[in-house]
Amino acid sequence: MNKAILKLLKKNARMTNEEIATALGKEVDEVKAEIREMEKSGLIRGYKAVIDWESIEKSSVSAIIELQVTPKAGYGFEEIAERVSKYPEVESVYLMSGVYDLNVVVRGKSFQEVAQFVAKELSTMESVTSTATHFVLRRYKDFNVDLGVKDPDERGTVSL
């Protein structure tokens, strides 16, 4: 595992092996091998773009859904969490402490579509005892990336 490489990739997953090597003062082959190792071991699970969908598609809606579930004997929350995770509409699934159990982020084309998904798919699952749906009205920051208007560089162009 190499934390310095992870830190760079977390900030910008598109950095090439060459760029990472330069940035960290390492050999390219070394960087390549370490990244491959971290991918193989499952430490790095994927690389994705952070996209401001709402800015181009009027029809993109996401919601956070709180699920209360009855854990199954012998499986705990694993089974239900895995089942929920299978849906392509579901972006993330977390087991939570506190008043509810699973936090599910769902994305759809409209409020209605998301509501339908919750009503038809999630709430009908046998171990789900209740759902609460919170629609996201606006995303200000996601994955450490500011989604607001970019501040202009106030420093000007040249100074001594």
């Binding site: 910008n12 760029e19 330069t22 940035a23 003062g25 420093r155 000007g156 040249v158």
Partner: protein, 390 residues
């Protein structure tokens, strides 16, 4: 009609405007420029520091402070200098809080320079030492530091410039624009030249937190034989990304600091109080934030240095500050020609080395206070430019 020429002093009108002011004006008004031109951090001031300032404002702590600066701040500065650079100054009588390092430089020169006095200034370096010396009636004596010496001041160069009129030597290290630092042995060599003289060392250490590649900043004041003749100037702008807060400090022997404080008391009263509270927080609890910024600078430094060298513009490894200082001699252009052409044809802004003294000819300064994506884009454009002028 009033004749302003009769009103203004000959000393200030006699100080030359920087020759590249025009270039700066053009660069600063041109649209769509990708710049490696600024001399200040891109990071916002760490939130802890801003939040602390907000809290003191909310509580209405907005009065003048003591002329010397807030006592807890002076005490923190004393701890900080001890902890970081192994130098010790009394918070009661040897530390003054100033409006940026700039006020400290100005005040320090004003209390020591009389007409005809000589101040030795290594160049290429930051632009303020020469004009302030002149305004005080002093004579700037320039040491043109050399690339082959890693832009350090050597004992021989210093010796050659010392006369009976020499009052002080400015040591602007880590250096803007060259990225040079002075190591312990370099300073010890200078101390040999300076011993038994009445020459003061004015050490501008504003970039002291920014050293790389295993190098650490050595303050001349930490050399035993230089301690009594050194005035240390530092501040919060670069290390804590607090340029607009205008806060610095000056430390040194009590007889000098007390006279600087006298001047400061009449000219300035006190440094901005809000900034002083913020600075206490900076020194107390921001080691981690500074380290994070340093790591990021280091990454950018490696990328920009390799970038220039790959383009065929020889770039030594800068050991301090946040600038690369590549040579453009291989292009056959002067520094100013290079920068102007680059600005007009590729809209990339960098600063000609000559802005920092004649000895900057043949070099350009590229700041790496920018994101790596930004730096890469600028390097790409410089690469295209180099192909076109071949």
């Amino acid at each position: 009609m009033i004749d302003y020429g009769k009103i203004l002093t000959g000393t200030i009108t006699g100080v030359k405007w920087s020759g590249i002011r025009k270039f700066f004006d053009i660069a600063n008004t041109m649209e769509g420029v990708i710049s490696l031109g600024v001399g200040e951090p891109d990071f916002p001031t760490p939130w802890k520091i801003r939040n602390c300032a907000i809290n003191t404002l909310q509580k209405g702590k907005t009065r003048y402070s003591s002329n010397w600066g807030l006592a807890p701040l002076r005490s923190e500065i004393s701890h900080y200098l001890n902890r970081k650079y192994n130098i010790s100054y009394s918070p009661e009588s040897e530390i003054l809080v100033t409006v940026g390092g700039s006020e400290a430089i100005d005040a320090c020169l004003r209390v020591i320079v009389e007409p005809g006095d000589e101040i030795i200034i290594p160049q290429p370096s930051y632009v303020c030492y020469e004009p302030i010396t002149q305004v005080c009636g002093g004579v700037p004596v320039i040491i043109n530091t050399k690339a082959e010496n890693d832009f350090k001041v050597t004992a021989a160069e210093l010796k050659e410039k010392i006369t009976e009129k020499t009052k002080a030597l400015i040591l602007p290290y880590p250096c803007n624009p060259t990225g040079a630092i002075m190591e312990r042995k370099d300073l010890e060599e200078l101390s040999e030249v300076l011993k038994d003289t009445n020459i003061l060392v004015i050490s501008d250490e504003i970039y002291s937190e920014l050293t790389f590649g295993g190098a650490t900043h050595v303050s001349p004041a930490s050399i035993d034989s230089l301690y009594e003749r050194t005035v240390v100037i530092n501040g919060f702008s670069k290390a804590f990304s607090m340029t607009g807060w205008r806060l610095g400090f000056v430390c040194g022997p009590e007889p000098i600091i007390s006279q600087i404080t006298k001047l400061h008391q009449f000219a300035i009263m006190c440094a901005p109080t809000t900034s002083q509270y913020a600075a206490i927080e900076a020194l107390k609890s921001c080691d981690e934030e500074v380290r994070e910024m340093m790591e990021e600078y280091d990454i950018r430094r490696r990328i920009i240095v390799k970038g220039f060298n790959d383009l065929g513009l020889t770039c030594r490894e800068p050991k301090g500050a946040f600038y690369a200082f590549p040579s453009i001699q291989s292009t056959g252009l002067t520094s100013e020609e290079f920068c102007e052409k680059l600005l007009y044809s590729k809209k990339v802004a960098i600063v000609p080395g000559t802005a920092f003294g004649d000895s900057g000819e043949g070099f350009v300064r590229a700041s790496y206070c920018y994101s790596t994506e930004h730096i890469n884009e600028a390097l790409e454009r410089i690469g295209e430019f180099l192909k076109e002028i071949k």
